[in-house]
């Protein structure tokens, strides 16, 4: 089992004819993702990696019903493309795009709520159900099946951590990237709930960072509602206040969102916080026995 997506998930790629869109379509197909169509206005009739390209989401949905869509659309046009997907009936939207204006992101989230759809991102690497379906841009070879669920706010750091697990023969059920922006579709709790219900996931790795209060909220959920063990790594311990470290969320403001507050909240919820990323495999081995 896996969360959000599986082998059967039918996937649309919006922006399939662009440099990133076409490259990652090939990568996702190689991983085994069931991509049913691509969308690129004005480019209908072509095909990319054997995937038919259509002009609009509606046209694509008439031909091939899809459950999920991944967007490789430049920031100024991302809102329109996201709303098109949601309007067309897509129930899981993965927004890879960086630098989507905040007010656009809020409109997308509000419409998704109304349409009962799940949004992952923006500014995410996507998600992968290991060995079954990848809707994202992460390097294929590190994501092998196993008992660990991973949820992360950052991309490359998550690969680093999953890479450590894979080296130690610890595979993953599903790996979800929440995205680095201030407004994203899912929070830690949404994903933790799913991992708690998932029969294959035995333990969870939470990869957080400074800024905001998502880790503190996750900690209170873990202490009240999770039976499965959770371990964590938090980036930004050494960051000075007031400096934004790349992610819109990664900034310590008015003394809030510090490493110390997050680590203390997680510890109090029974979550061990690793000092370095390479300590996580040992911690998980102890848990898995």
């Amino acid at each position: 089992m896996s969360i959000f997506i599986n082998r059967q998930t039918r996937v649309l790629v919006q922006g399939i004819t662009g440099r990133q869109g076409s490259f990652h379509t090939a990568q996702m197909l190689e991983y085994g993702t069931n991509i049913v169509a691509g969308v690129s206005p004005g480019k209908g009739g072509h095909s990319i990696e054997g995937v038919p390209v259509l002009n609009t989401v509606y046209e694509a949905m008439d031909r091939e019903t899809a459950d999920a869509s991944i967007l490789f659309i430049p920031a100024p046009f991302a809102k329109d493309a996201a709303l098109e997907a949601l309007s067309g009936g897509i129930k899981l939207l993965v927004l890879i795009t960086e630098h989507i204006p905040l007010h656009d992101a809020m409109s997308i989230m509000e419409y998704a709520r109304k349409m009962n759809a799940v949004v992952i991102g923006p500014n995410t690497f996507g998600l992968v159900s290991s060995g079954a379906c990848k809707i994202g841009i992460m390097p294929n070879r590190y994501f092998v099946p196993g008992p660990i669920g991973v949820v992360s706010r950052s991309g490359t750091l998550c690969y680093e951590i999953v890479g450590h697990l894979t080296e130690n023969d610890i595979g993953t059920t599903t790996v979800v990237g929440l995205g680095g922006d201030r407004v994203v579709g899912l929070n830690f709790i949404d994903v933790l709930k799913k991992f708690e219900e998932d029969s294959e996931t035995r333990a969870v790795v939470l990869v957080g960072e400074i800024g905001g209060s998502a880790e503190e909220e996750a900690a209170s959920f873990i202490s009240s509602s999770m039976s499965k063990p959770v371990v964590a790594y938090l980036a930004g311990r050494s960051a000075p206040p007031g400096k934004r470290m790349g992610h819109a969320g990664a900034i310590i403001e008015r003394g809030r969102g510090t490493f110390e507050s997050k680590a203390a909240a997680l510890n109090a919820a029974g979550v061990t916080v690793a000092g370095l990323p390479d300590e996580l495999p040992e911690m998980l081995k102890k848990i898995l026995g």
Binding site: R237, S238, K243
Partner: protein
Amino acid sequence: MKLYEYLGKRLFLRYDIPVPRSKMIEDAEHAAEAAAELGEVVIKSQVLSGKRGKAGGIAFASDPVQARVEAEKILNMTLNGLVVEKLLVEEKLQIEQELYLAITVDGALRCPVVLASLDGGMDVEEVAEDRMIKYPVDVSIGLQNFMTREICRRMEISGNLQKEMIALLPKLYRMFKELDAELVEINPLALTPKGLVAADAKVTIDDDALYRHPQIPRVKEKTDLELKAEELGIAYVELEGNIAVMANGAGITMATLDMVQHYGGAAANFLDFGGGADAEKTAQALDLLLGTDPKVLLINIFGGITRCDTVAEGFVRVKESKGIDLPVSFRLVGTNEAEGRAILKKVGIKAYNTMDEAVSHAVELAKAAS
């Protein structure tokens, strides 16, 4: 992008939000002239920092002579590390009560939230939670008058003050939305005999939306290097240490800095050159770093969308054209790793497999160099 108070107030005026009469000045002489025109005045330093009052950056003057003296004092003062170059000289308001009003984005709720309190002023951060009203706004319908009435009910205000709020809050929301603001804050929102007046303005515009607001003046809040990095599309922040750090991804760059600290070193910067960088961008990022005169260079690459051979090529390009004299600790794994390592080997650099090895080596090198 944070805006100076005077720029925020100009935008308030455009949205018909009342602000005090004022003059912008850059020398003490003009402060005296402004006071001659405005009467009793407040002289406010224009820096992008809160707590100006507590730091001595705000003064009162009852006549032109005193205005000149006070302006002299504040000009060229350093406030929280920022040099004061401009002053806003404003009419002194007859304040009956100081309120607080703001609209910002609530990341957890994924929507705008109105913050309102009867206890505005200097210590608003200490206001008890039940005295600070938080009202989320559904963006599909926007701010409606019933919402303002509800906010007023929770604040326990009625009558004339409620009427004033119903006149003012929708203007502030319209500005927040139309200008792609992350924050519009009025603290204090002054209740005067003439009604509500915005005695201060704190406005932050979303950097990612600046492209659709060419009319908003650009405010420089970064160092020259940080600005250059921004032009190149690189996330760069200067820090105090001597190990120059370069990595691909915000999270892993932060984790690299944490690990540098863990091993007893100090990073000179945060540099995330992002995903999918080509050789040219790699070379530009390196160039930028070398310009900061670090003792050691630490490069941490976990290639996903970024290709190891491309990064190695960019590195060699800079090394061969400009020379890289300082010691380098290089970690290189992921997409096209073997090709990347082969390129580095030709110039005598052996790349590490793990972040741990590369960081601890960099810290040793830095200790040896100092």
